[in-house]
């Protein structure tokens, strides 16, 4: 794009109108792209909030990105459209990367949760402690966890709060279903054994205490247990 400084001096009203239109288009374009990047920033903030809620771990913004955001803010304040225009692409790339990073972190956490949900599902198939839909519901809600919704009228802070609440609610729900599925095993020393069994791991009988063996024998899982000679 040519700079306005290199344009010959316009002499007609039509030329002036065109020039104004072009400037307007340019502003519109910048506005649009800045809005897009604001959206990316928001997404990043919310994902960070999500991740932190899920994991209780902090996410730290890359310094370079921080600097870019600071610069952009200065440009905007200065109405320096040229700098805005020239910085937008880099900032966009940087934000994309940051968002990608946090999304990966969230994804890893979700894989872990999903394993538990799978175990719960298998156990429940045997013990039928809860309605399987509850487990499916959990699985679905975790999968959609990063589908952030923009709610008209909400501030970023409120959105962050909503994200945290949503994560908290989901985790509470997760805990409750897990407790129900594991029932008598929940919170006991058998919980770990049952999880392993659900993960198709074999136990040597001598690895169990008699108590543990008795409790298993008398548990709803007794019909599913079998001894094999290895």
């Amino acid at each position: 794009m040519s700079s306005s400084e290199s344009d010959p001096k316009p002499e007609s009203a039509f030329g002036e109108n065109l020039r104004d239109a072009r400037a307007e288009l340019r502003r519109g374009d910048l506005r649009h792209r800045l809005d897009e990047q604001a959206e990316m920033l928001r997404e990043f903030v919310l994902l960070t909030e999500l991740y932190e809620a899920l994991t209780d771990e902090s996410v730290v913004l890359d310094d370079d990105v921080q600097r870019q955001i600071d610069d952009m803010r200065s440009y905007i304040e200065d109405r320096d459209f040229g700098s805005i225009e020239s910085s937008l692409d880099d900032l966009e790339d940087a934000l994309d990367e940051e968002i990608e990073d946090v999304q990966e972190d969230i994804s890893e956490h979700r894989i872990s949760v999903n394993k538990t949900i799978e175990a719960m599902d298998k156990l429940n198939e045997r013990v039928e402690n809860v309605n399987p839909d509850q487990i499916s519901d959990l699985r679905e809600q975790y999968a959609e966890l990063t589908d952030l919704e923009f709610v008209e009228g909400e501030t970023l802070s409120e959105e962050r709060s909503s994200v945290r609440d949503k994560v908290d609610e989901l985790q509470s729900k997760f805990d409750a279903v897990q407790e129900d599925v594991f029932g008598q095993f929940y919170g006991t020393d058998l919980e770990g054994i049952v999880r392993d069994l659900l993960d198709d791991e074999a136990f040597r009988i001598d690895e169990l205490s008699t108590n543990q063996f008795e409790r298993l024998k008398n548990s709803p899982l007794s019909d599913c247990l079998e001894l094999l000679l290895s």
């Binding site: 040519s2 010959p8 316009p10 007609s12 030329g15 239109a21 920033l41 955001i69 803010r73 905007i76």
Partner: protein
């Protein structure tokens, strides 16, 4: 008559004609022998002096009889009527013979009644016969009073006489054995009234005047009143009944009855009645014939009846059965024109007494004569007569002066063969004489009389002589042939004033003391080479005339031979072009082709782009011919003989061997006169076709074709590119540009929208004639080498408004411009081009759309003018490349406009200003320029693209809120 002795050769030539008696001149030259025959003093001897005894042919035998023979036929002792009939063509001497015989009979005591050839029947019966009777008997004839009353009544009460005659005739017929059925009495009455008018009209004898003829009964149903009668019988019965009715009323005799009564009154002699010019003399003709023929010894009349052969047809004299009482003679052999008493050899002597009579009165001239009264010699002038004093003339021409014998002989031989008759000969000589003496200013030599132009003359002189017409004429008519020379007695040149004014050497002529020597054609004179005396008898050259052509037969081409043959007749053509067909064809051809060359092919002016298509016709008429208004009248007499001969030669060559006709040589000889004709023709044709009373413009519009030429071309230029305006520079540039002028495309589109189909086509059609309009313009405004006379162009443009000019064209007048006026280059009619201009103005008159033009022009002027297209292109490219996606094609109109060149945009802006500046101008031409510019603007691609481009809009938000969301969100990172 006494002699005035003051006349001498020194102060007046031939004093005889100085105080000539006009009455005598009239009598001498009168066509009617009766006038010359009058015995009235003082010229009572005129007839005898001039009469040459005649010879005639006897009918049947063809034998020649003289006047004595004829006179001998009249036997005073004869019983019964006798009739001598003289027949012959007009002018062959019949009347002369009648008079000669009647004079002689009268001289011998016979009572002679000479019926005047113009007398009417009623005058004969009521006046001449009764007078004759009274003169010779001293008594009044019975019934004469009644005849006079009848004549008076027919003169004054024709209607009453007719009414009476018809009523009485019908009653008489009803009472007869005839059965009649009258349907329209009134028409019969009118018919008879007309017949009565004919009866008393002089000169009606040549007409078959009868009350009712057979053919009239057949043609007019109201005359066919008889039942069971043939047309012939009906005609006879009705005629008789009408005539009897009249006679019964007036108790008048019929002509035959009257003559019978008169004749019987002469007991001791036989009266003579002369019908000098017998015609079918109306009502009583048949009765008269029957009376003449009847065999009755008591009848006493001798009749002399003369007439043309035709005039006797109706009456059918019984030439076979009445030989003893009828004698028939003819002045010429049947079917021939030559009389016995006048031929080439007798022509001079024949005319001598006619010319000499004037000089005979004072005794100057008298002749020796033979028994036939023929002149055999001239007697010396009487003592103290004028000729005696004068002594100027030779005896040879003393009586003939102002002619000589050569002259009068050539007049006779020059007469057409069927006109070599006494009357014509005498008449011609006296007409020439009359011209000579009646000339009001300078002397008109008889040899240059117009009367001679009708006659042939074989003398062929060197061309140099003919340069002076009078000199050539003199030699041709007075000159005698001497070998290769023609000699004229110098006294004639002196007396006609030629000698005093002509430098003979200029014409290759040598004047010696007594004679003037002229070279024949193809020869030149050597001074002193001729020592022959003039033999002025006029007889010596008989054998040499006709042999004087140059001996060039072996080397002559057919064209040269033809020219040679025709040369001698050019003077005759000059006198009577229509009578000399062959000369006429060649001379007109020569004239036409010369004028065609001199006018550049009948262009209306020098190098004019338009011509008048003369086609196979001529741009001229000769003499008093009727022509169209673009033809000039050429008086053939304006040509001197030498030029006429050149013209003849040229015309022959152009006709017979066109490629060898030498235009340059011919025009170098006669170009001046012909150039004047060419200019006259151009002026005439231009005046008639283009300028006469504004010709192609409405009344009150005073414009010339120069304004029209400018306007026509200027309109083409303007319509070719209205935005370029109509300055002298623009027109000049268009003219020098090789490009054809065409209707501007955008303007054409606009006009197609604006006008109905016909008007649109009319505008387009103007350019079918652009080439012709350019030609007209070029003719008026171009300099050599394709350059334009800008100064003149500017001067004209200052006051000429092309549209006002064509507005002044008048359709009806345009249509009157001949279709023969065409453009040289294309052959198109000028009228077509003028019509195209006429309709152009009418077509454009319907243009409206001024509002749309104004809106567009104002927009362009206010928004586009001053635009830098490079700048605009940059912006548009920016918009396209940067924001094309978001604009989704809405910027395409911008892109199209951005493709317009700076030149195109500037042109549009100029056009808009042109429109705005001139639309309200007080000058008509400016308003038209504005209109056409505005129209083009409506369809201009550049203007259209601009209109579309200016529709491109971007919603304006300014920079408010830009980046606000970003700022808000990024607050998290601050």
């Amino acid at each position: 008559m006494g002699v005035n002795t003051e006349y001498t050769p020194e102060n007046e030539l031939c004093p005889h004609f100085d105080d000539i008696n006009e009455e005598l001149m009239k009598r001498l030259s009168s066509e009617v022998a009766a006038v010359r025959s009058s015995k009235k003093e003082p010229f009572e001897d005129l007839f005898e002096f001039t009469h040459r005894r005649m010879e005639v042919y006897e009918y049947g035998t063809g034998e020649i009889r003289n006047e004595d023979d004829l006179y001998a036929e009249f036997d005073e002792q004869e019983l019964g009527n006798f009739t001598l009939v003289i027949r012959g063509p007009t002018g062959t001497g019949k009347s002369e013979l009648c008079w000669a015989l009647s004079h002689r009979l009268e001289a011998n005591g016979r009572p002679v009644l000479h019926i005047d050839k113009n007398a009417d029947l009623m005058s004969i019966m009521a006046e001449e016969i009764p007078d004759f009777y009274e003169t010779h008997t001293g008594e009044q004839i019975e019934g004469a009073t009644e005849l006079d009353r009848l004549r008076t009544d027919i003169h004054e009460e024709k209607e009453t006489v007719a009414e009476y005659a018809v009523s009485k005739a019908i009653i008489d017929l009803r009472n007869s054995d005839a059965t009649i059925n009258v349907n329209d009495r009134e028409q019969i009455k009118e018919f008879v009234e007309q017949k009565l008018a004919d009866l008393i009209s002089r000169g009606e004898y040549d007409t078959d005047v009868d009350f009712v003829s057979e053919s009239e009964v057949k043609n007019f149903a109201y005359l066919d009143i008889f039942v069971d009668q043939s047309a012939a019988d009906a005609a006879t019965m009705l005629t008789d009944a009408l005539w009897d009715a009249i006679r019964s009323e007036y108790e008048s005799p019929s002509l035959d009855t009257l003559l019978e009564e008169v004749g019987q009154a002469f007991t001791d002699t036989r009266p003579v009645i002369v019908f000098e010019d017998w015609s079918v003399t109306s009502l009583d003709a048949i009765r008269l014939r029957n009376y003449m023929e009847r065999d009755n010894d008591n009848d006493r009349w001798d009749f002399i009846v003369a007439g043309t052969p035709d005039s006797f047809d109706e009456l059918e004299f019984q030439t076979q059965t009445n030989e003893d009482r009828f004698e028939f003679y003819e002045t010429t052999k049947e079917g021939e024109d030559q009389v016995l008493f006048l031929d080439e050899s007798s022509a001079v002597d024949f005319i001598r007494p006619y010319l000499g009579y004037v000089k005979s009165i004072d005794g100057s001239v008298n002749y020796e004569r033979d028994a036939e009264n023929r002149v055999t010699d001239i007697i010396d002038p009487g003592e103290r007569s004028r000729c005696d004093f004068c002594g100027f003339c030779d005896p040879e021409f003393r009586d003939l002066f102002p002619f000589n014998s050569t002259f009068v002989k050539r007049v006779f031989t020059g007469l057409p063969d069927d006109d070599k008759q006494p009357r014509k000969y005498v008449q011609t000589i006296f007409d020439i004489l009359s011209d000579y003496y009646n000339a009001t200013d300078d002397i008109l030599p008889p040899s240059s009389s117009n009367e001679l132009k009708d006659l042939t003359n074989d003398i062929d002189l060197a061309d140099s002589v003919y340069i002076n017409t009078e000199l050539g004429d003199l030699a041709e008519w007075y000159g005698t042939i001497r070998g290769d020379e023609i000699h004229v007695d110098r006294r004639f040149a002196v007396s006609f004033g030629i000698d005093q004014t002509v430098d003979y050497e200029d014409y290759g002529v040598i004047a010696e003391e007594e004679k003037i020597r002229f070279p024949k054609r193809g020869t030149t004179l050597i001074d002193g080479s001729d020592d022959a005396d003039i033999d002025s008898s006029g007889d010596e050259d008989d054998t040499s005339e006709g042999d004087d052509t140059e001996d060039e037969g072996e080397t002559q081409s057919p064209e040269e031979k033809l020219i040679e043959d025709l040369r001698s007749g050019v003077q005759n053509w000059q006198a009577e072009p229509e009578e000399w067909d062959e000369h006429d064809v060649y001379l007109r051809k020569g004239l036409r082709d010369a004028l065609e060359r001199l006018t550049g092919g009948f262009r209306l002016w020098d190098d004019a782009p338009i011509e008048y298509r003369v086609g196979s016709g001529n741009p001229f008429v000769i003499g008093d011919e009727l022509g169209d208004p673009t033809q000039i009248v050429i008086d053939q007499h304006d040509f001197v003989r030498s030029d006429l001969l050149e013209l003849l030669e040229f015309g022959v060559m152009r006709s017979e061997d066109p490629s060898n006709a030498d235009y340059d040589a011919f025009l170098s000889q006669t170009g001046t006169q012909l150039t004047e004709y060419a200019q006259e023709w151009r002026a005439t044709a231009t005046q008639h076709e283009l300028e006469q009373s504004g010709r192609i413009f409405t009344n009150g519009v005073d414009l010339s074709h120069r304004e029209l030429a400018l306007s026509g071309y200027a309109l083409c230029v303007l319509l070719d590119d209205p935005w370029a305006g109509l300055s002298a520079d623009r027109i000049a540039a268009a003219f020098t540009d090789d490009e054809d002028l065409t209707l501007d495309d955008d303007l054409a589109t606009a006009l197609r929208d604006q006008l109905d189909k016909n008007d649109y086509q009319r505008v387009r059609r103007l350019f079918d004639h652009a080439e012709e309009l350019a030609a007209l313009f070029e003719d008026e405004f171009a300099l050599t080498g394709n350059a334009v006379n800008r100064l003149r162009l500017k001067q004209y443009l200052d006051y000429v408004s092309p549209f006002e000019v064509i507005e002044g064209l008048a359709k009806s007048r345009i249509n009157r411009v001949s279709g023969k006026v065409k453009f040289v280059s294309s052959g198109k009619n000028l009228t077509d081009v003028l019509e195209a201009l006429y309709y152009l103005e009418k077509a454009l008159d319907d243009v409206s759309a001024l509002d749309a033009m104004t809106v567009r022009a104002e927009r362009i002027d206010s928004e586009l003018c001053g635009a830098n297209m490079a700048y605009i292109e940059n912006i548009v490219n920016d918009i396209q490349s940067s924001y094309g996606d978001i604009l989704s094609g809405s910027q395409e109109s911008l892109a199209k406009f951005a493709n317009e060149s700076q030149e195109a945009v500037d042109e549009v802006c100029t056009a808009a200003k042109l429109y705005l500046d001139r639309r309200d101008s007080s000058r008509d031409v400016d308003r038209w320029i504005a209109l056409l510019s505005g129209l083009k603007l409506l369809e201009s691609q550049t203007a259209e693209r601009f209109e579309a481009a200016r529709e491109f809009e971007v919603s304006t938000n300014g920079d408010g809120g830009l980046g606000s969301e970003f700022m808000e969100v990024s607050d998290e990172f601050v």
